[in-house]
C-alpha cells in the first residue's frame, strides 16, 4: 500500500503498487483477503476505482463500523504495509471501448466506484481519440444521501465541465444544501424516464449500488423497454445502506 486519500467522511481511496499486476478492465473488482495470527481468514470484494493503465491500483472503500475488513483498510493500513489481493476479477460488469455507447450509468452510494473506473477510462480514451465522444456520450445518475457523501464530487464536476458529452445528474435522498435545485428523492421511474437515453439508442446500462436500488432501477429500465442483455448490474451490501 502506498497512499490513502480521504474522499468523504466515510470513504477512503487506498492506492496500491501491485508487482506483476496484469492490468484490469473498467468495472472489475479484487478480493482482499485478511488472515489473522490464528489463521482465521476473511475475504471481501472491492471494486477497482482506477482506470486501466493507471500506474497505481486504487480501491475506494467505505468504512463499515461493524465490518471485518473495511475498518482495517481505511484506518489501520499504513504506507508500506502489504496485503493479499486476488484479481482482477469478473468479466461481466465491465466496459471498454469495444462495448460502445451511449452509456447510462446509475450508482448509489459507493456503487459509484466501478462506474468511476469506466468514466475515468472513457476520459483517458477521449483524450487520445476525441472523435469518438459522440458515440460514447455518457450520463451518470448518482444517488447519495447528502452532498457531503458524494464520492469523487469534485472530479466528476471537473470532468463534466470539460466534456460536453458527459453529464452528471445527482439526486440527494436525505438532506440537500440550501439552494439545491437537483433531484431530492430516491431514484424512481419518473427520474429514469427523464435521465436515461432513449431505448432506440441501445444504451449500455450499468447499475451498481445496494441490492434494493439495483433491483428497482434495473427492473424499471427493463419495463421501460431497455434490453435486459444491455442492463448490467452489480449488487453489493447486505443492507439498504450503501456499503
Amino acid at each position: 500500500m502506498v497512499e490513502v486519500l480521504p474522499e468523504t467522511p466515510r470513504t477512503r481511496t487506498v492506492f496500491f503498487d501491485v508487482p506483476g499486476w496484469p492490468g484490469h478492465r473498467a468495472g472489475q473488482h479484487v478480493d482482499v483477503r485478511l488472515t489473522s495470527e490464528d489463521g482465521y481468514q476473511t475475504e471481501r470484494s472491492y471494486s477497482i476505482a482506477s482506470a486501466p493503465g493507471e500506474s497505481r491500483l486504487a480501491l475506494t472503500v467505505e468504512r463499515l463500523d461493524d465490518g471485518e475488513v473495511s475498518p482495517y483498510l481505511t484506518d489501520e493500513l499504513h504506507a508500506g504495509d502489504q496485503i493479499e489481493l486476488r484479481g482482477p476479477i469478473g468479466g461481466y460488469f465491465v466496459w471498454d471501448v469495444e462495448t460502445g455507447g451511449p452509456l447510462f450509468l446509475v450508482g448509489g452510494g459507493s456503487g459509484i466506484v466501478p462506474l468511476m473506473a469506466m468514466i475515468r477510462h472513457r476520459a483517458a480514451l477521449l483524450a487520445t481519440a476525441p472523435n469518438s465522444a459522440t458515440t460514447l456520450k455518457t450520463r451518470l445518475l448518482y444517488s447519495s444521501r447528502n452532498w457531503d457523501e458524494v464520492i469523487y464530487r469534485d472530479e466528476l464536476s471537473r470532468l463534466a465541465e470539460a466534456d460536453p458529452t458527459l453529464e452528471v445528474v445527482h439526486t440527494l435522498t436525505r438532506t440537500a444544501p440550501d439552494g439545491w435545485t437537483g433531484f431530492r428523492r430516491r431514484i424512481d421511474r419518473a427520474m429514469l424516464t427523464e435521465t436515461a437515453w432513449a431505448v432506440s439508442e441501445n444504451p449500455r446500462v450499468f447499475v451498481c449500488g445496494p441490492t434494493p436500488l439495483v433491483e428497482s432501477v434495473s427492473g424499471t429500465l427493463v419495463e421501460l423497454g431497455h434490453s435486459p442483455a444491455l442492463v448490467k448490474t452489480e449488487r453489493f451490501g447486505p443492507t439498504g445502506t450503501p456499503g
Partner: protein, 106 residues
C-alpha cells in the same frame, strides 16, 4: 464499494427481507470460481436445469453464506451452482446447470 463475499458474513440473515437483500450478482462469485476454472466463468452462459433458460453467469443471482455461495437462476430461483469451502477442500455442485458454455468473447 464493499460487497459481502464468501467465507464470512457481517450480518445474520434474520428474515426473508434480509435474505433478499443479501442477493448479489453472479459477478460476485467470480473470485471463488476462479479457484476452480481456468476461464472467467461469469462471462460464460449456463443453462438452468430447472427451467431451461440460458443466461450469462454474471447475470445469475448469488447468495453468499458462511462457507460459500449458492448461485440461483433469476427466472425460476433454481439452484444452478453451489460452491463451498471447507478447511481442506473447495467443493462444487453443478447439477443445476445442464451446460456451461464459455467462448473466447464475452
Amino acid at each position: 464499494m464493499n460487497k459481502v463475499s464468501n467465507q464470512s458474513m457481517e450480518h445474520p440473515a434474520v428474515s426473508d427481507r434480509a435474505i433478499d437483500s443479501l442477493r448479489l450478482d453472479g459477478n460476485a462469485a467470480a473470485g471463488l470460481l476462479s479457484e476452480i476454472f481456468a476461464s472467467d466463468l461469469t462471462v460464460g452462459r449456463a443453462k438452468c436445469a430447472g427451467c431451461g433458460a440460458t443466461r450469462a453467469i454474471g447475470a445469475l443471482h448469488v447468495y453468499s453464506h458462511g462457507m460459500g455461495m449458492v448461485v440461483r437462476c433469476p427466472g425460476c430461483d433454481g439452484v444452478v451452482l453451489r460452491v463451498a469451502r471447507t478447511a481442506t477442500h473447495l467443493w462444487l455442485d453443478a447439477r443445476g446447470a445442464v451446460s456451461i458454455v464459455i467462448s473466447g468473447q464475452s
